[in-house]
C-alpha cells in the first residue's frame, strides 16, 4: 500500500478540522438584533480555509511518498522523533509544569524554578553549572519580579507558599 505523504495527512486533518468548525458555526447563538449575524464572519473564514485545505490536499497527492526535505539527521520512528525534538519537548513539558503549579508556587518562586530547570536541562548539570544556573535564575527572575511588583505595580500571581500581602 502506498504511504501517504506528510502534507496529505495534514491536509486531511485540516479538512476534518474545518468540518468540526463548520458544524460548530451552525450552533452559534443568533441574537435578534444586529444586521451582521455573529456566525457570518466565522463561516466565511471556515469556507475559505476549507477551499485552501482542499487545494492543499489535491496538490499533496502529486508529491512523492518519500519526504525529500525531511531533516537528514533525524532517525526514523517515534524514538527518532523523540530524540530529535528532545529539547523542545522537555522545555514545553517544564513550562507546562510551571503553569500547572503557578497557583501553589507563585510567579517569583515558580519563575526561579522554571529558569533553573530550563537552564539545567539545556546547559548541563555539573556542580559548577548548577551554581551558575541558580544565580542566573534568582537574579533574572528576582529583577523582573521586583520591576513589575514595585516599579510597575503589577501584582504577579502569588502562590500559596509565598505572598507579599
Amino acid at each position: 500500500m502506498r504511504t501517504l505523504h506528510k502534507d496529505t495527512v495534514i491536509a486531511i486533518l485540516l479538512l476534518l478540522f474545518c468540518g468540526l468548525l463548520a458544524w460548530s458555526s451552525l450552533h452559534i447563538r443568533l441574537p435578534g438584533y444586529g444586521t451582521l449575524k455573529p456566525s457570518t464572519w466565522p463561516q466565511i473564514i471556515v469556507g475559505v480555509l476549507t477551499l485552501f485545505s482542499a487545494i492543499y490536499f489535491v496538490q499533496s497527492l502529486g508529491y512523492p511518498a518519500t519526504d525529500g526535505d525531511k531533516a537528514d539527521e533525524r532517525k526514523p520512528g517515534i524514538s527518532g522523533f523523540l530524540e530529535y525534538f528532545r529539547n523542545p519537548i522537555i522545555c514545553f513539558a517544564i513550562y507546562f509544569v510551571f503553569l500547572a503549579t503557578l497557583p501553589w508556587a507563585g510567579a517569583l518562586i515558580g519563575g526561579i524554578l522554571l529558569v533553573f530547570a530550563l537552564l539545567t536541562v539545556l546547559g548541563g548539570w555539573t556542580p559548577r553549572d548548577l551554581i551558575r544556573h541558580a544565580v542566573y535564575a534568582t537574579v533574572s527572575m528576582g529583577f523582573m519580579w521586583t520591576l513589575f511588583t514595585f516599579g510597575l505595580r503589577v501584582i504577579l500571581p502569588e502562590g500559596e507558599i509565598f505572598s507579599i500581602r
Partner: protein, 554 residues
C-alpha cells in the same frame, strides 16, 4: 510664526526636555519588554502628568509614545520577539540580519529609519495637518473594510515559496481571532463549552507564542548549538554602525518616503494604527523592490519600511487628534484625556483656539524623535550584549520573561496558557513548513475587518456601497492586484504577463481617483492614466523582445 516661537519657548526648557527624556527612556524600556504595550506605558505615565502644565504633560507622553515605537525594534531584531505589534514586520528581516552576524547594522537601520520616519511625519504634522485630517473624515465603514481587506490580501505576498501553506496560515490566523465572545453582539463562538475558549485569545500572547516561543524552541533544538552564543556561531559585528546605517537609509529614500507616507496615512485613519502600517509598508516595499525574493532573509529594505512607517504613524494619529479632536488609537485617546484634565477640550477648532499648545505638541513630537535617537543609541550598546550570552541561557530567561510579560497585559493566568499553546502550535507549523507571518496578520486584522463589515452592514445592507465609495473602490482594486502578487512574483522574468501587471494596476486605480471630490485627485487620476498607458506601451515593447530567465538549477 509667533505661535511657533511661543511654543518653542514652552518646550525648549530644561525642565520640559528633562521630562521628555524620562518619558523617552521609559517608552524605550516599555517597547523593548515583550508584552508591555505602548498604550500601557502611556496610561501609566498619565497620573504623573497631573501636576505638570498641559504642554509639559503632553510632551512627556509624546516622549513615551515615540520611545515605545522605537523600543520595540530592539527585542524584535536581537531576539526575534516584537516588543510591540508595531514592530512585527521588523522581525521579518531584522532578526535574520542579526542572525547573519550583523546585529549592529540591523539595529542601526532600525534606529535611523525610525528617526527619519518620525521626522518626515513631524514635518507633515506642522505643515499640512488640517488638510490631511480631512481625508480621514472621508472614510466610511465600507472604505475601512476595504482598507483592512487590502491589508489581509498581503498574506499572499508574505506566503513566500509555498503560496497555499501561506494562505492556510493566514486563514487559521483569522479563525483564531474569531474564538470567544465577539465584540459586536457579545455572542460566544467556537468555545465548545469551555470558559477558557469563551474568553478568546488575547493578541499578544498569541503573537509571542507563535513568534518568540517557537523561535526559541528552534534555537535550542540542537543541544550543541544551544550551548553557543550568537557571537560564537559566526563572525558577529556588534558595533552599532550609525554612519553606515544612516547612509543606507538615506540611499533608499524612495522606500523611506513611501513607508513614511503609508505610516502617516494609516495614522490619520482612526482605529488603524501602527500595528497595520508596519505590515502595509513592508508589503509595499517588497512589491516595489526589484529583488522581492530577498525580503525575509535579512534585507535592508525590510527593516527600513516597517520602522519608518510605525514612527510616522505617531505623527499621523496626532494629526487626527489635533485637527479633528478624534483619537485614532488608545494612545491618542489617553492623550486627549490628559488634555481634558487640563481643561483643554480638543475639537476641530483646537488649532485655532489654542495655537500655542497645538504647536507645542508638534514641536514636542519633533524633539522626541531626536531624544529617542540619542537615548536609543546608548541603550543599544547595552542591549547588543545579548549576542554574547549563550543561547540556552537566553532562551530560558526569555521564556520566563515572556510568561510574566503576557500576564501583566490583562492580569490573567490564562494568557500564559495561551502563550504555551501557541508556542507549541507555532513550533509545529514552523517544522511543517507553514509561514507564521500570514497567521499573525490574520490574528491582528481579522477582528478589525469584522468590526468594519458589521458597521457597514448595520448602516446599509446594500452591497453596492462597496463599489460606489471611492476609497472602497480604490482599496478593493488594489486588493485584486495584491492577491495576484504571489503569481506575479513567481512568474516575473519567466513569463510575459508580469510586464503588464503594474501598468494595468495603475490604470485600474485611476477610476477611483476620478470618483473623489475636488480637482487635485481627479487630476492625479489623469496622470495615472497617462503614466499607465505609457508603461503599458513600454511593457508591450519589452514583451516583443522577451527572453525568459533560465530556471535556477536545483
Amino acid at each position: 510664526m509667533e505661535h511657533i516661537l511661543a511654543a518653542l519657548a514652552e518646550i525648549a526648557t530644561v525642565h520640559t526636555l528633562a521630562l521628555m527624556s524620562v518619558g523617552a527612556i521609559a517608552g524605550l524600556l516599555a517597547g523593548a519588554i515583550p508584552g508591555f504595550t505602548i498604550a500601557m506605558a502611556v496610561v501609566l505615565t498619565l497620573p504623573f502628568t497631573f501636576s505638570m502644565t498641559a504642554s509639559q504633560g503632553i510632551a512627556t507622553m509624546i516622549g513615551v509614545f515615540v520611545g515605545g515605537l522605537s523600543g520595540g525594534l530592539m527585542s524584535g531584531i536581537l531576539i526575534g520577539i516584537p516588543g510591540t505589534p508595531s514592530s512585527v514586520a521588523t522581525t521579518f528581516d531584522g532578526f535574520p540580519m542579526a542572525r547573519q552576524g550583523r546585529p549592529g547594522l540591523a539595529l542601526g537601520l532600525g534606529v535611523w529609519s525610525s528617526f527619519f520616519g518620525g521626522t518626515i511625519s513631524a514635518v507633515c504634522l506642522i505643515a499640512i495637518a488640517p488638510q490631511l485630517a480631512r481625508i480621514g473624515l472621508e472614510f466610511q465603514p465600507w472604505d475601512y473594510f476595504a482598507l483592512v481587506f487590502f491589508a489581509l490580501t498581503i498574506t499572499a505576498s508574505l506566503a513566500g515559496k509555498n503560496l497555499i501553506k501561506g494562505l492556510i496560515s493566514g486563514a487559521l490566523g483569522l479563525l483564531i481571532a474569531t474564538v470567544g465572545e465577539e465584540d459586536i453582539n457579545g455572542v460566544s463562538r467556537f468555545d465548545f463549552g469551555s470558559d477558557y475558549l469563551q474568553e478568546g485569545f488575547a493578541f499578544l500572547p498569541v503573537l509571542i507564542g507563535l513568534f518568540a516561543f517557537s523561535q526559541l524552541m528552534g534555537d535550542i533544538r540542537n543541544p550543541a548549538e544551544a550551548r553557543r552564543s550568537l557571537a560564537q556561531t559566526g563572525d558577529i559585528d556588534i558595533r552599532i554602525e550609525h554612519v553606515k546605517a544612516a547612509k543606507i537609509v538615506l540611499s533608499k529614500w524612495g522606500n523611506l518616503v513611501r513607508s513614511s507616507i503609508i505610516g502617516i496615512f494609516t495614522g490619520i485613519l482612526p482605529a488603524a494604527g501602527s500595528s497595520i502600517s508596519n505590515i502595509l509598508a513592508y508589503d509595499q516595499a517588497k512589491k516595489a523592490s526589484p529583488t522581492p525574493e530577498k525580503f525575509g532573509s535579512g534585507f535592508e529594505d525590510g527593516i527600513i519600511a516597517p520602522e519608518a512607517s510605525n514612527n510616522a504613524t505617531a505623527g499621523g494619529s496626532l494629526i487626527t487628534m489635533m485637527a479633528l479632536g478624534i483619537p485614532g488609537d488608545i494612545v491618542t485617546a489617553v492623550m486627549l484625556g490628559a488634555l481634558l484634565i487640563h481643561d483643554v477640550v480638543p475639537s476641530p477648532s483646537f488649532i485655532t483656539e489654542a495655537p500655542v499648545l497645538a504647536y507645542s505638541i508638534f514641536i514636542a513630537f519633533f524633539f522626541a524623535n531626536f531624544l529617542v535617537l540619542f537615548f536609543q543609541s546608548i541603550a543599544l550598546r547595552l542591549f547588543v550584549l545579548v549576542t554574547k550570552v549563550k543561547m540556552y541561557v537566553l532562551a530560558g530567561i526569555i521564556l520566563a520573561y515572556c510568561g510574566i510579560g503576557v500576564f501583566a497585559l490583562n492580569n490573567i493566568v490564562n494568557d500564559m496558557w495561551t502563550l504555551l499553546i501557541f508556542g507549541v502550535v507555532g513550533y509545529a507549523m514552523r517544522n511543517l513548513g507553514f509561514p507564521l507571518a500570514p497567521m499573525i496578520l490574520g490574528v491582528v486584522l481579522g477582528p478589525i475587518a469584522e468590526r468594519w463589515l458589521a458597521r457597514a452592514v448595520a448602516i446599509s445592507t446594500d452591497m453596492s456601497n462597496f463599489i460606489t465609495h471611492p476609497w472602497s473602490v480604490f482599496f478593493l482594486t488594489l486588493s485584486l492586484f495584491s492577491m495576484g502578487f504571489g503569481l506575479y512574483q513567481r512568474d516575473r522574468g519567466k513569463k510575459v504577463w508580469p510586464l503588464y501587471y503594474t501598468p494595468l494596476m495603475v490604470l485600474a486605480l485611476a477610476p477611483a481617483m476620478f470618483m473623489m471630490e475636488g480637482y487635485i485627485r481627479p487630476g492625479i487620476g489623469v496622470l495615472m492614466i497617462a503614466g499607465g498607458l505609457y508603461a503599458l506601451y513600454r511593457g508591450h515593447q519589452k514583451a516583443a523582445e522577451f527572453k525568459p530567465v533560465a530556471e535556477e538549477s536545483a
